[in-house]
């Protein structure tokens, strides 16, 4: 028991150290966001300086960034939810439903991810242009679904394969339809996998730049576009104070979302344990 406690503490300590190492660049980003530009590129690097909130206030007050933040949230959660819904169903079909030809279809869907996104962006723009969907949220959401669904499908397939088969068999004997068995039995028990995959989807859509630039102009424009706009300043040079401030602001909502989901996830697991 004593030895167990020691390794337990060692693992906690180790985890914290590794996390801090991973967070070092993030720390530097946050620190830079409070600097005047003058203090950013000094030799040696400055840790103590007169902090300023200007980088935040400038971009929150004067620019389109709050609006673009809202767009980013709409697009990221919209595409995340659609993808998790459709992708998990497809993953379940691949894992359990033994449909002839579906395996091949699944592999094909997966392999569609092999097409370089740059090649897809232009024809997708042409499609959107002829349908009048350029600069519409829904088009960007659907575009993101094309790269999220294959990932969700494949990850969820593996989660479902690991579940014991008796689960839905007993449910179906009890008179559940396939859909009932899936949504009432399989989905709740796969919650850790589903939520982690959802987090992954939201993050991928949250930071996507290429499609956002090509498929939107103004109305549906997202934060990564705003960031690219600041970074590519051809007149004054990139304002790294502003960039790191916007970077920090984009991180916060996702971290909060992840924390909330974790709480829900652990609670869900506990409920599942008592039920089982």
């Amino acid at each position: 028991m004593h030895r167990f406690a020691v390794t337990h503490k060692l693992r906690i300590g180790g985890g914290i150290v590794v996390a801090l190492l991973f967070l070092l660049p993030v720390f530097w980003m946050v620190l830079t966001s409070f600097k005047f530009q003058r203090d950013i590129f000094t030799t040696p690097p400055t840790v103590f300086f007169t902090p300023t909130l200007e980088n935040y206030s400038n971009y929150l007050q004067r620019s389109s960034i709050p609006y673009q933040m809202l767009n980013t949230a709409i697009v990221a959660f919209g595409s995340g939810l659609i993808s998790i819904f459709t992708g998990a169903m497809a993953g379940y079909a691949l894992a359990r439903l033994r449909i002839r030809g579906a395996g091949l279809l699944g592999v094909l869907i997966l392999m569609s991810r092999g097409v370089p996104p740059i090649a897809l962006a232009v024809p997708m723009f042409l499609v959107g242009r002829s349908l009048g969907l350029i600069d519409k949220h829904i088009f960007l959401i659907l575009a993101y679904c094309t790269f999220l669904i294959p990932y969700v499908m494949w990850l969820m397939r593996s989660f479902f394969i690991a579940l014991p088969k008796e689960l839905e068999e007993s449910a179906m004997i009890d008179g559940c339809s396939r859909f009932g068995a899936f949504f009432k039995i399989i989905v709740p028990i796969s919650l850790p996998g589903l939520l982690s995959t959802l987090i992954f989807c939201v993050i991928l859509a949250w930071e996507e730049l290429l499609f956002a630039i090509v498929l939107t102009n103004r109305v549906a424009s997202t934060v990564p576009v705003a960031i690219a706009n600041i970074a590519g300043d051809t007149v004054n040079g990139a304002n790294w104070g502003a960039l790191t401030a916007v970077g920090t602001m984009t991180v916060i909502p996702v971290v909060i979302f992840a924390l909330l989901v974790q709480k829900w996830l652990i609670q869900g697991l506990a409920d599942g344990a008592t039920k089982g």
Binding site: R11, W28, T86, L105, G114, I118, C145, I149, L243, A258
Partner: protein, 307 residues
């Protein structure tokens, strides 16, 4: 006569039931399939089409069929091959590193204590930072003139290193940044899959007096194998397409030392407006990726059979 009828009836009912069942099974694939076909069919066909053609930039449509000419040009382009080599080196270094680190960290932080959820959420941050900002912050830290890294290393008597200016170090820098960014993804999925492992098996093993190595090697890894494979496949398909970090951190330089294939395709299409050539490259990359993914899937099935 009546005999035959009664024989047929149950069979027919069975048939219609299986048909209904087949439909309901396929219904699980339909929503995903519809979205993908609607959004991807034209773009992929268009890419295939223009890879065999000259296109008119005033309409973005085909003006002339040129057969394999674009492919011949791409295949005889030393830059294309060089960028494939760069991509291969980058993948060979970063994928194994990220898999081992990811599952290792997931295992490490999967101990029960209050701060666990918080640590896990913190681990997501590198993934969320926009690539342009991430690449820039890393540049800022690694620059030999004003960077933090060399400054800190100088206290222990190391360096100075030209992280972005030396060909090999620049490649290493890309691998480090990519690993920093994407290991959290593997941690995320790995944690979820470790969480979904049934506890009963481990309790049984504890009763049998198995040590942690036996538990890891003969219980955890076999059970996690499908997940490990799926994570690897998803990461591999993501990594093949990486170009944002290379663009933000090194711009493909020094020389062409970190010009990964997707950066080259991006430059050909968006800077040089050589859409047909870049489509040909995209098709070659697609076929290569499909073949390698097939190899990985087959290999993984063999592995799964092994256990």
């Amino acid at each position: 006569m009546s005999n035959v009828k009664t024989e047929h009836r149950p069979a027919r009912r069975f048939q219609s039931e299986t048909l209904l069942d087949l439909v309901s099974r396929w219904a699980f694939m339909v929503p995903a399939g519809l979205i993908l076909v609607a959004m991807l069919a034209y773009p992929i066909l268009y890419t295939l089409e223009i890879s065999f053609a000259l296109i008119d930039l005033s309409t973005f449509q085909v003006t002339e069929w040129v057969g394999w000419e674009n492919y011949e040009f791409v295949l005889s382009d030393s830059r294309f091959w060089a960028s494939l080599k760069v991509t291969a080196v980058y993948l060979a270094l970063s994928l194994p590193l990220q898999m081992v680190l990811g599952f290792g960290i997931a295992y490490l932080i999967n101990v029960e204590w209050k701060g666990r959820g918080f640590i896990r959420a913190l681990f997501l941050i590198p993934m969320v930072v926009a690539p342009v900002v991430a690449g820039g912050v890393w540049r800022m830290m690694l620059d030999p003139l004003y960077g933090l890294t060399n400054y800190l290393l100088s206290f222990v008597g190391l360096g100075p290193y030209d992280w972005l200016g030396d060909s090999w170090l620049a490649m290493l820098t890309i691998v480090i940044i990519d690993t920093w960014r994407w290991t959290p993804f593997i941690v995320l999925i790995a944690t979820a899959s470790i969480l979904s492992l049934s506890r009963d098996i481990f309790e049984a093993a504890d009763i049998d007096g198995a040590n942690w190595w036996t538990k890891l090697w003969s219980i955890s890894i076999p059970l996690l194998l499908p997940m490990i494979v799926a994570t690897f496949i998803v990461r591999w398909l993501g990594a093949v397409k990486m170009f944002d970090i290379a663009l933000a951190a090194t711009g493909g330089g020094p020389g062409a030392a970190t010009q990964v294939i997707n950066l080259y395709i991006y430059e050909e299409a968006f800077r040089s407006l050589h859409f047909a050539e870049s489509a040909a490259m995209a098709m070659i990359v697609l076929v290569g990726t499909m073949m390698l993914t097939g190899v990985f899937l087959r290999g993984s099935r063999k592995l799964e059979d092994l256990y």
